[in-house]
Subunit: 318 residues, 2 copies
């Protein structure tokens, strides 16, 4: 079950979304390589439309809703980048979007969603209230739900980031390791599938915050587990896996490494200072894991997906 | 006088430094274009070696000191990016460098210079003390001075940034305007010469902070003037022009526009938030001028040199 996303499906997703997305740069940095003792290739999804890789999955899903005439509006619940991704994608196809957001979400994020012409429906900041909000929207408008990660179309869209990384790195031998952070697992499972198809000998390793360490437990037990506690600056990674993403991750991911907020913050600062690019805390999690476990990556070619660059400049962790 | 830097000289400088520098990206941003009402091409020298365009001029001078066997060591005085540029360039050729720095310079900047293997000589934070420090170094070591801007070799090196911008923009018709910030005028005069040779119809416009507004006075009077007062977040732009840079600027620059620190800070924040790249305050001065004087740039193709990305993340202006 849940392993039906073929390489053709990922290729089709890429062809479908290509007119709407940036083919983001793959950057390297000599100082960071020296610091890590490895050769790291950063796929810069912080430069992606809406400032994060989520534009890929949102577009792939919304474009198929249109293609298959599944409905005349889109809905989702999210307080983060997925909300913007769905609002952005709906705007590209001229479809109304109804985004259920917790009333505690930062104004800047609500404004960004409104800026793409979507409706924002506020709700209490609980998963139950968010899901109830979406159900209400669906009953009222007939909108189609685009889930942030528990959706093959979203996963196939996110899978295109690793595809570009592999195609564009310009290296002779293949990556030894490809890394992504893990929250709900949409990016990680997509990355794992692409890497499995294009470079089966490459190890797929995830980074996870200690303060949202559900995936490592689920990965070990084989069941979807809750995190022991949720408290991390990597605010994009607080969600748990679904059965779907867990199945793909168990099939293709070699390891999950956890890092503390201090390690995430230090890695984020290193990227800002040395690469002169802005990444959000979630993006820094894989690099933090490399710097923490240098012995596992010594001399290797490592691809890392920098997931996004949407930070509140007034609330930096350093 | 002072107009002897031919296009061949700039081409030779480019060939000379090319193995040591990055050919930095030229980036565009849809939101900023909409905000400005113009089509802006940013030459990202914040991604350059040492984090700033100054690597170009420093290398071009130091490589010629070696080529012409002028001396066995290099010296300069600087508290900013030029100090790192000279230290970096000297290291590339295996030559000792003696950098005179005011004792008030931030520790992080001294550490960066030391990190390139240069000697740091501390002095009082006055121009007299800095120049005396350099004279002492020259007497003691026979080092050759590489001035931050009053040097044809430095100007020819800085001129290569605009050359790459023009070569790489990938536009059919030429830029209407090319812009750079102005401090001592090394970058601006180099940019003006390159643009004059490669695209004589393009207007060259400089941005200058109100809190270091010497260049606009000198540009008008034809004499090297002092700024009425010095107080700006654009800490790379506090120096005055020299006779040499003023002559080139008077010959080829169309206008100098001044902006306040609030306008610089807002433009800097816009670039950080929308482009997800880190630029220092000095880099934001030309964009601030475009946003302040939209009517002068409406519908035009504008090239802007983003000069560097060396900021203290603990002291942001927003």
């Amino acid at each position: 079950m849940f392993l039906m996303i073929s390489f053709d499906t990922i290729q089709e997703a890429h062809d479908r979304i290509r007119p709407y997305i940036h083919r983001t740069a793959v950057l390297t940095n000599q100082t960071i390589n020296e610091r890590a003792g490895a050769e790291i290739f950063f796929k810069c999804e912080n430069f992606q439309k809406i400032g994060a890789f989520k534009a890929r999955g949102g577009l792939n899903a919304v474009l198929q809703v249109v293609q298959h005439k599944e409905g005349k509006a889109i809905t989702t619940h999210s307080s983060g980048n997925h909300a913007q991704a769905v609002a952005f994608a709906a705007r590209q196809v001229g479809m109304p979007a109804y985004i259920v957001m917790p009333r505690t979400a930062p104004k800047v994020k609500k404004d960004a969603v409104l800026g793409y012409g979507a409706d924002v429906i506020e709700c209490e900041p609980t998963l139950e209230a968010r899901e109830a909000g979406v159900r209400e929207v669906i009953e009222r408008t007939g909108a189609v739900l685009v889930h942030p990660f528990d959706d093959d179309r979203v996963i196939a869209g996110q899978a295109t980031a690793a595809k570009e990384l592999i195609e564009d790195a310009g290296i002779e031998r293949m990556f030894d390791v490809i890394m992504a952070p893990v929250g709900g697992g949409g990016l990680l499972s997509g990355t794992a599938l692409t890497t499995h198809y294009l470079s089966p000998k490459t190890r797929i390793v995830a980074g996870e915050p200690e303060g949202a360490a559900d995936a490592i437990l689920s990965f070990r037990s084989g069941r979807v587990e809750k995190a022991p506690y949720i408290n991390t600056i990597a605010d994009g990674l607080m969600t748990s896996l679904s059965e779907r993403t867990l199945a793909i991750i168990r099939a293709h991911v070699a390891d999950i490494l956890t890092v503390s907020d201090a390690e995430i913050s230090a890695a984020m600062k290193l990227v800002w200072e040395r690469m002169k690019i802005i990444i959000e805390p979630s993006s820094a999690v894989p690099l933090a894991a490399v710097l923490k476990h240098k012995e596992q990556f010594a001399g290797q070619k490592v691809g890392i997906i920098l997931t996004g660059g949407n930070v509140d400049l007034g609330k930096l962790p350093f």
